[in-house]
């Protein structure tokens, strides 16, 4: 799989969560890439999801989304 294809897959996962009303709550970056924790608050219910982002372009992508969220 080309890195571009991998990027598109990671971008899709990010977009799906953002479209579902999640926002970025925290980011952990380490030797394995970036772990982006998303959070959605619906009434009194808080749900969270974490994506492990591997590609450089997807790390740029969630950063742009974070700046504009």
């Amino acid at each position: 799989m080309s890195e571009y294809t991998q990027y598109l897959q990671e971008k899709d996962k990010i977009d799906v969560l953002l479209n579902q009303g999640y926002s970025i709550k925290s980011i952990t970056e380490n030797l394995s890439g970036a772990f982006v924790e998303f959070e959605r608050i619906t009434g009194s219910t808080i749900t969270s999801e974490t994506l492990h982002i591997l590609t450089a372009d997807a790390r740029k992508y969630f950063s742009v989304k974070l700046i504009h969220q």
Binding site: S2, E3, Y4, I24, K25, S26, I27, T28, E29, N30, L31, S32, F35, T50, K60, Y61, S63, V64, L66, I67, H68
Partner: protein
């Protein structure tokens, strides 16, 4: 015709092209010939206590048959008594009153030594002084040149001593043999320098003879490190000029030196902040008359752009020179191969496949025609294919429309800092 007159810290010259302090400016005979050829100024070969030189002093590095890609020397400062040099400076200035003569100076780091030479040299009628804190060989072993120039406090102190008595503008010439040249540049400014010049030569050994095992050059079978200059050092010099030009505490004019071989090089240095440029290796390679092409080329360039005075281009590229953290991470270019021009040598494919990002595919059409194609989505825009391509116009680097808004590393990190963010934590 554009006005090429230059004024750097009060030193005026008919054009920005000066000969650097080096063998070409060793004597009045040479400097007068240089002025007749058209050079706007000359920095006299460094004056100080007359030294002793060795035989076999220069060496050059060729690259793929191109001679003098780099030049190495182990010659020291003037070996002639001060009185002889001053007499020739006086005579030269009298003959060429409108040309700039700057005396390069080097003495021991003692106040009285600097005071003595400054007073005596200025009496000869020089237009300015250049303090040689840069020569890396020989004199540095005696505590002068680069040995002084690598210690900011010594640069500041000696500049201050000179300024105590100097009546003409003082240029401090800096060594590149230091991690951060802005540290010594700032020290020079703090000491009162009216201008700075850079770069002096870089520590070097031109080569080793693989048959005799002697160094190149060698003196009776023994060698010592020299100073490297010429076209090979231009990128190093240009960066150092740019770093000083954009530094907020370094607010004096710069005379750029380092591999300047033609008018285009001169324009680059001036765009990056140089008010004048100094040339040595190119003159040693081709003679003083290369300045004719430099003057014509610069003049035509300015006329072509409708620029009235060469001073208008000084520093114009400095705002475009920044830190990596301020570059746009989302700017994207990709390689595009023009198969009409491509000669199918496959160098781009090999370079990309072996050493870059594996995004240039070889293909064969139904009619047997071979070609190369870039998978643009996988291209990172590194430029390597266009660098190795032997055919002009075969590969264009094309700017892509922004998919994402501009974002720098510094902006990204600031944004990450605002949310709960951990870095360098073990993987979850």
């Amino acid at each position: 015709m554009a006005d090429l007159r230059t004024n750097i810290a009060g030193i005026e010259s008919p054009n920005p092209f000066w000969l650097a302090s080096a063998p070409p400016t060793n004597s009045g005979y040479q400097v007068q010939r240089a002025f007749e050829a058209g050079w706007g100024g000359a920095v006299w070969k460094t004056l100080g206590d007359p030294i002793l030189n060795v035989s076999s002093r220069f060496a050059a590095v060729s690259f793929n048959g191109q001679k003098v890609a780099g030049f190495n020397n182990i010659e020291l400062i003037t070996d002639r008594p001060l009185e002889v040099n001053l007499k020739e400076i006086y005579e030269t200035k009298k003959k060429f009153p409108n040309h700039a003569i700057i005396a390069s100076l080097m003495v021991e780091p003692k106040q009285e030594k600097w005071h003595e030479i400054v007073k005596r040299v200025e009496e000869a009628g020089v237009d300015g002084l250049e303090l040689n804190f840069g020569c890396p060989h020989g004199m540095a072993e005696r505590g002068m040149g680069a040995a002084s120039g690598q210690v900011p406090s010594l640069v500041e102190q000696q500049t201050y001593w000179v300024k105590e008595v100097a009546k003409t503008p003082v240029i401090v010439k800096l060594t590149p043999n230091i991690t951060d040249i802005t540290a010594t540049a700032e020290a020079a400014v703090n000491g009162g320098a009216d201008a700075i010049s850079m770069i002096n030569t870089i520590n070097s050994l031109a080569g080793v003879d693989i048959d005799t095992w002697n160094t190149i050059p060698h003196v009776g079978g023994k060698g010592a490190h020299g100073g490297y200059c010429g076209p090979a050092v231009k990128p190093i010099a240009l960066n150092m000029v740019g770093e000083c030009a954009r530094h907020s505490h370094i607010n004096v004019p710069i005379s750029g030196i380092g591999g300047i071989s033609n008018w285009q090089d001169a324009v680059e240095f001036m765009l990056m902040g140089s008010t004048s440029v100094q040339v040595c290796t190119a003159a040693m390679h081709h003679g003083f008359r290369i300045v004719e092409d430099m003057i014509d080329g610069l003049s035509n360039y300015l006329d072509g752009k409708g620029i009235q005075s060469v001073t208008e281009i000084i520093g114009k590229s400095v705002p475009k020179y920044s830190d990596w953290g301020d570059l746009d991470l989302n700017y994207k270019i990709v390689a595009r191969i023009n198969n009409d021009v491509c000669i199918n040598c496959n160098k781009c494919h090999i370079a990309c496949e072996d050493t870059s990002h594996q995004c240039i595919d070889m293909y064969t059409e139904a009619d047997g025609t071979k070609g190369l194609r870039v998978r643009e989505e996988d291209c990172v825009g590194c430029n390597l294919c266009s660098i190795v391509c032997p055919e002009d116009g075969a590969i264009d680097m094309v700017e892509m429309t922004h998919e994402l808004p501009p974002m720098t590393w510094n902006e990204r990190q600031a944004a990450l800092g605002k949310v709960a963010c951990e870095v360098d934590i073990a993987a979850k």
